[in-house]
């Protein structure tokens, strides 16, 4: 089984003193304030924080969809240039187009990038068994279960062969069993392709289980409250959740987040 995405490609991200303010009618709302953020090449980094704190804005800056007011955003040592399409982005909703078969959804980014249809299909076909979707190439997305849809969306992200993947709460809408399965699955994929992954989540356990490093954001305007290195050995399996170190990390993160949540509520 040759992987369609051969070799380990990865790039680091570095945000330095990044701030962003949005105008909301006549009010200016500061969303990000003096963000310092680093993801090393090949690292799995999670970003966790109160809802509505501006995590998605962070992603949009890195993806080149928004521009920061101050500070620098660098990918692989160079300022973000949207024209390079440096990242593969996976939003919270799977956003599979209902009028395209699963394989045509997966090949869409290649099609946009000008890859010929037959080559794109061939590359996608190789990935289907890896993502456990063999036999569903020509099915319409609505026939798939939630977990299958997320795997298809992840495949659409991986096939782009971008060195950096931004995953914005990709498993947020799944039930807990499917979610656990998808987490294991994501680690397999990461292990296989070696991307740099930046992962947004609400779920403390999820972030510890998956990440090398966790950034905890403050309530709005979001700053980095703390940076936690997860020193649990890899490869990890689901049993790691019951280890003392895991519980310790969980408690530490939970305290930090609860404090931020309280502050968030106070400002509303």
């Amino acid at each position: 089984m040759e992987a369609a995405t051969a070799g380990r490609i990865s790039t680091g991200v570095e945000l330095h003193g990044v701030s962003k303010t949005f105008r909301n009618g006549r009010r200016a709302v500061q969303v990000l304030k003096d963000i310092q953020f680093t993801a090393e090449p090949g690292e799995f980094v999670s970003v966790i924080g109160p809802s509505g704190c501006g995590k998605s804005t962070l992603f949009k800056l890195v993806a080149g969809l928004e521009r920061a007011d101050t500070g620098t955003t660098e990918i692989g040592g160079k300022p973000v240039d949207p024209a390079d399409n440096p990242v593969a982005y996976m939003p919270q909703k799977d956003l599979l187009l209902p009028w395209r078969s699963v394989i045509r959804n997966v090949t869409m980014p290649l099609e946009i990038g000008g890859v010929g249809k037959s080559e794109a299909m061939e590359r996608a076909r190789k990935l289907f068994p890896v993502f456990g979707l063999e036999g569903f190439e020509d099915a319409y997305p609505f026939t798939l279960s939630g977990g299958m849809r997320q795997r298809a969306a992840l495949m659409r992200t991986v096939i782009q062969e971008r060195p950096l993947m931004l995953l914005d709460e990709p498993f947020g809408a799944l039930d807990s069993l499917t979610r656990t399965e998808m987490q294991e699955f994501l680690l397999d994929i990461w292990d296989r392709f070696g991307h740099t992954i930046v992962f947004i989540t609400h779920d403390i356990r999820e972030s510890i289980y998956l990440s090398d490093t966790i950034y905890v954001m403050t309530a709005r305007p979001a700053r980095v409250r703390m940076k936690v290195s997860v020193d649990l050995p890899r490869p990890r399996n689901i049993d790691v959740i019951t280890t003392p170190r895991f519980t310790e990390l969980e408690a530490e993160l939970l305290h930090a987040l609860r404090e931020e949540n309280r502050q968030q509520e106070a400002t509303f």
Binding site: L65, W99, F142, M148
Partner: protein, 288 residues
């Protein structure tokens, strides 16, 4: 290697099975279900039949003058006797509708596309488009005759005027309903505005488009008849007008019947095309 086989096993036994059999299961309807499906159309047929029967019975029993109200049987037999004239006029009206409605759809697609992509065109055009819908057809149709004569052109123009607006509005609403996140996602894939339009905005607006088309189709028949009524060489509208003047009420009703059939046929045609163009839409709706 182990990872792959692992995933395979997991999905083969767990996830896929949990979905209840997957995507390719064919549904074979039972005889009872087929019957129930057919029954859906039955009331729609029974009601007009009931009306015709009551009509027939009342007119024969009350001995109404046929120039006032002919019986349905008389309408049909007279229509059959005059079938070559009826066909000539029907063909003319059909031609106007095909040309007019066809052009209208094309005009609507172009206008909606431009309005969606250029904000200033949208802002400039929208008030005028709405205003164009307040023009009374009754007033404009005779003027069209003065300006463009008795030929095909005034009919086609009137049909376009009446039908393109609902299609444009439906398309614009459909385009606007595209999810912001989907647009962002395509942007990160390096999609140009035009590509995004082709890949997401346009296909996403198709269900709206067909709804607009169905509404417009009924207007198209009305507009054609009206345009002819005020002046034409041939066509169901002018035929109705002539039949009325010579007290051939039966032929007036005959022409009305043909118009109704054209409307229903057009409506059905659009429904069939939409099923052909958007199989995913109907399949998802059946499931959902």
């Amino acid at each position: 290697m182990s990872i792959i086989s692992n995933i395979r096993t997991r999905s083969a036994t767990g996830v896929v099975a949990a979905d209840g059999g997957g995507a390719e299961v064919e549904w074979v309807p039972s005889r009872g279900e087929r019957w129930r499906e057919a029954m859906v159309f039955l009331p729609g047929l029974l009601l007009p039949i009931a009306i015709l029967v009551i009509w027939q019975l009342y007119v024969s029993a009350a001995n109404v003058d046929p120039t006032v109200l002919p019986t349905p049987i008389r309408i049909v037999t007279q229509l059959y006797e005059q079938r070559s004239i009826a066909w000539e006029n029907t063909a003319q009206t059909l031609e106007e509708m095909v040309v007019g409605f066809g052009l209208s759809v094309i005009v609507a697609l172009v206008i909606a596309f431009v309005m969606d992509n250029l904000r200033w065109v949208r802002n400039a055009l929208y008030p005028t488009l709405i205003a164009s819908q307040t023009i009374p057809v009754i007033a404009i149709a005779p003027l069209m005759i003065i300006w463009f004569g008795f030929g095909l052109l005034p009919k086609v123009l009137l049909i376009i005027l009446v039908t393109f607006f609902p299609i444009v509005v439906a398309l614009l609403d459909g385009f606007a309903a595209t999810e912001r996140e989907a647009m962002d996602l395509l942007k990160t894939m390096g999609s140009s505005r035009l590509q995004t339009f082709r890949l997401v905005r346009f296909p996403g607006a198709l269900p709206n488009f067909f709804t607009g088309l169905r509404i417009s189709a009924t207007y198209a028949v009305l507009a054609a008849i009206f345009a002819e009524y005020v002046g034409a060489y041939h066509g169901l509208g002018i035929w109705m007008s002539q039949a009325k003047s010579s007290f051939r009420t039966d032929l007036v009703f005959g022409a009305i019947g043909i118009c109704a059939l054209i409307s229903i046929a057009l409506f059905a045609l659009i429904a069939i095309i939409s099923r052909f163009v958007m199989p995913w839409h109907y399949a998802a709706r059946r499931k959902g």
